[in-house]
């Protein structure tokens, strides 16, 4: 496959991973909400309707936050990213901690709101970073390359920094 000799994941791979994660998080929310609704119907109907809406919105947000931030900070990979063999890394080459993952989630929402325009920088940036990565100081790399503990974000794609990429023992798929 022709392409740059960098392990940063591109927009198509990340888009597929995000689609899978969106589907999974929504499925988890719907199943959880259905189970809670079933259990709630046994004790009586929840009123007023606005409270139901608020609870549903909070539940949806919590599910998404826990799903994305939890997986990012836990293993650096959501299930969709695992399937597509990509991984999110913080500046030190490790998965971001939970707060940084939450910041990244905010960036994700902000990138989605303007019709995914927040991901356009992935096509231009040398490290293929989008708005979530800029906000949280993270990068997304192909997971089938083994990264050295060297600082990921310090690596550059300039000829000067080509030796930095010798730390990557594999090539992007």
């Amino acid at each position: 496959m022709s392409g740059p000799r960098v392990p940063y994941a591109g927009i198509a791979t990340r888009a597929v991973a995000l689609g899978i994660d969106a589907f999974l998080s929504q499925a988890i929310f719907i199943v959880g909400a259905a189970l809670l609704g079933l259990a709630g119907s046994l004790v009586g109907e929840l009123r007023p309707a606005w409270l139901v809406g608020v609870l549903a919105a909070v539940g949806w947000a919590l599910t998404g936050a826990l799903y994305f931030a939890g997986f990012w900070s836990g293993t650096g990979q959501t299930p969709g990213m695992r399937l597509m063999h990509v991984r999110v890394l913080a500046r030190d080459g490790a998965p971001p901690h939970f707060l940084r993952a939450l910041v990244r989630l905010v960036g994700l929402v902000l990138a989605i709101i303007p019709v995914f325009a927040g991901f356009i920088p992935v096509l231009i940036d040398d490290r293929r970073r989008g708005l979530p990565d800029f906000l949280a100081s993270t990068v997304v790399v192909y997971a089938d390359v083994v990264l050295a503990p060297a600082a990921v974000l310090e690596a550059d794609v300039s000829p000067r920094a080509s030796s930095d990429f010798s730390d990557f023992s594999g090539q992007p798929s």
Binding site: M1, G3, G10, I11, L123, D126, P159
Partner: protein, 236 residues
């Protein structure tokens, strides 16, 4: 208590017994009176070698006579067995109750099973079957039978007969078939093979998707950078 009276049959047996005893006594006397002095004389210094030579000649003549006697006996037996009288006798015997008695005896002593067991154990049946199947004539026979339209018609008639669906139905509903199906369905080997096949298919699909998206990653970036006239820096 009076002694039992001899019947004519007993008298004949008595005569036979006396004759046999006389032969045994004669043989023993011959061994004592002839063979022992002969052996002693054979060890004597002067006449010994001559006697031994004569004994060797006699032994050779006796051996020759024995062999010829056996050959003549074989010829006589062969002539006797193949004689028309024997054929007629056997025919009469088989026409009588001997056949049934023979069958009962064979069944009672499990002759067929024992014979088959011995043949199987010795490998003779395998060898015979292999030799028969590998024989050119057998190959020609099989090919001829398979090419025979009559066989084809017969097989077609069998397959179209009412018997086949009934047999199939009975086979499918038999306990043995259920056991076999259960065994196959729960067999770890089969389950492992299915799992491996499914997982390998999924892996293949995902791998293909990853390859395509990876290509698309580069193509999209290349296109946009081309629009902006901002080429990607060389990575070395």
């Amino acid at each position: 208590m009076s002694a039992p009276r001899l019947t004519p049959g007993d008298a004949a047996d008595l005569a036979g017994g006396l004759a046999l005893t006389g032969l045994r006594i004669g043989g023993a006397a011959g061994r004592i009176l002839v063979l022992r002095p002969m052996r002693m004389a054979a060890r004597a210094p002067v006449v010994g070698p001559r006697l031994r030579r004569a004994a060797a000649e006699l032994t050779a003549e006796g051996r020759t006579a024995r062999i010829r006697g056996r050959e003549q006996l074989e010829m006589i037996l062969a002539e006797a067995v193949t004689a028309p009288e024997v054929e007629r006798t056997v025919d009469r015997m088989l026409a009588g109750s001997l056949t049934e008695a023979l069958g009962r005896s064979l069944a009672e002593h499990r002759v067929a099973e024992r014979l088959a067991g011995e043949l199987v154990a010795s490998g003779a049946i395998d060898e015979a079957l292999t030799a028969a199947l590998e024989h050119e004539e057998a190959q020609r026979l099989i090919e001829g039978a398979l090419a025979n339209p009559g066989l084809e018609r017969m097989l077609g008639a069998i397959l179209e007969s009412r018997l086949v669906p009934e047999l199939t139905e009975r086979l499918l509903h038999s306990r043995e078939m259920q056991t076999v199906l259960e065994y196959v369905a729960t067999s770890p080997e089969v389950r492992r093979a299915l799992t491996e096949q499914s997982s390998s298919l999924a892996e293949e699909m995902v791998g293909s998707l990853r390859t395509r998206t990876g290509t698309l990653d580069d193509a999209a970036e290349h296109t946009v950078r081309g629009w902006l006239r901002r080429p990607r820096p060389a990575a070395g």
